[in-house]
Amino acid sequence: MADPNNDDPLERAAGWRDQGLGVALATVIETWGSSPRPAGSQLSVNESGSFVGSVSGGCVEGAVVESAQQVIRTGSPQLLEFGVSHEQAWEVGLACGGRVRIYVERVE
């Protein structure tokens, strides 16, 4: 059986930091309507764009990874919101019709 920690975003974040890579952690803070991943779901991203974990069913991960790159550079946390009412949602396609708020922070 696979090591359960292999897919653990926090374990991976710590591992990447140990290798000297810049890392950001994205966490689902709130959801409305039907959202595939509940609050608390996490995604770790490193400076080269590799990621582990999920904050949606794959709909907004691309946009989150992009924001994470900025957060790694600047160190300022970002609060992202995606949903069908948001123009960005059409781009990244939150097809489930829900809304989700995601907090992205740098791992120091």
């Binding site: 359960p4 710590a14 608390g40 907090y103 791992v107």
Partner: protein
């Protein structure tokens, strides 16, 4: 997240200690709360306790700010008594579902590495193995042997703990005689009602893998307090 917060969080998780991460969404400041921490504002302490009990994250308004409360409960564990055929797909599927699987079977021909690659295997008898595991409310126990010598002491240990799920493989007839034996051990009807038998949801499962699906579905419903 400060590196020291991440390191302490991972230490608590590795030691199977429940812990709550609080993030101030305005300042970005973070703190960890352990149950029984009294150096914490009462409102936050209650929010942390609720988050661990419900295993749900959420935002909370405090006097000063808005905070995100993220519980980290100890890992889910599934104890399988009997390294039989059904245990093989069940161990694999439960691993995928996030359980640490522990297979207990003193019969060395059954609990082999090649039958259970990477799975923790204990070759003690269940009455020695289960109490040593410190069963808790994040554990499920399933007996699969049909053999009273193995199943009964395992059920005895499970019933004396607060595991969230107890299942026991066997026909209605086998289950009735099992309950009769456990009554002799001193368990009353309320205690015995905790045992799901025949085990698993009624989905018409036939093959070992299908039976594993039905058992894992029933365990999931018990964990999430759903009524299928």
């Amino acid at each position: 997240m400060k590196r020291e917060v991440l390191e302490r969080l991972q230490e608590h998780r590795a030691a199977h200690r429940p812990v709550v991460l609080i993030t101030d969404l305005e300042s970005g400041e973070q703190q960890l709360i352990l149950p029984g921490d009294d150096a914490v504002a009462p409102g936050l302490r209650q929010a942390a306790r609720d988050a661990l009990a419900s295993d749900r994250s959420g935002t909370v308004e405090t006097a000063a700010s808005r905070v995100f409360v993220r519980p980290f409960n100890p890992p889910l564990r599934l104890v399988l008594v009997g390294a039989v055929h059904i245990a093989q797909p069940l161990a694999r599927m439960a691993g995928e579902t996030g359980y640490e699987v522990i297979v207990v079977d003193p019969r060395s021909a059954f609990a082999t590495e090649s039958r259970f690659p990477g799975v923790r295997r204990l070759s003690e008898w269940p009455d020695a193995a289960l109490p040593a595991l410190s069963l808790d409310s994040r554990c499920a126990v399933v007996t699969l042997t049909h053999d009273p010598k193995l199943d009964d002491p395992a059920l005895d240990a499970a019933l004396r703990s607060d595991v969230f799920y107890i299942g026991s493989l066997g026909s209605r007839k086998t289950h009735a005689s099992r309950l009769a034996r456990l009554r002799v051990r001193g368990f009353d009807d309320d205690a015995l009602a905790r045992i799901r038998g025949p085990v698993g949801l009624a989905i018409g499962a036939r093959s070992p893998a299908e039976i594993a699906v039905s058992i894992l579905a029933e365990i999931t419903a018990a964990l999430r307090r759903a009524t299928p």
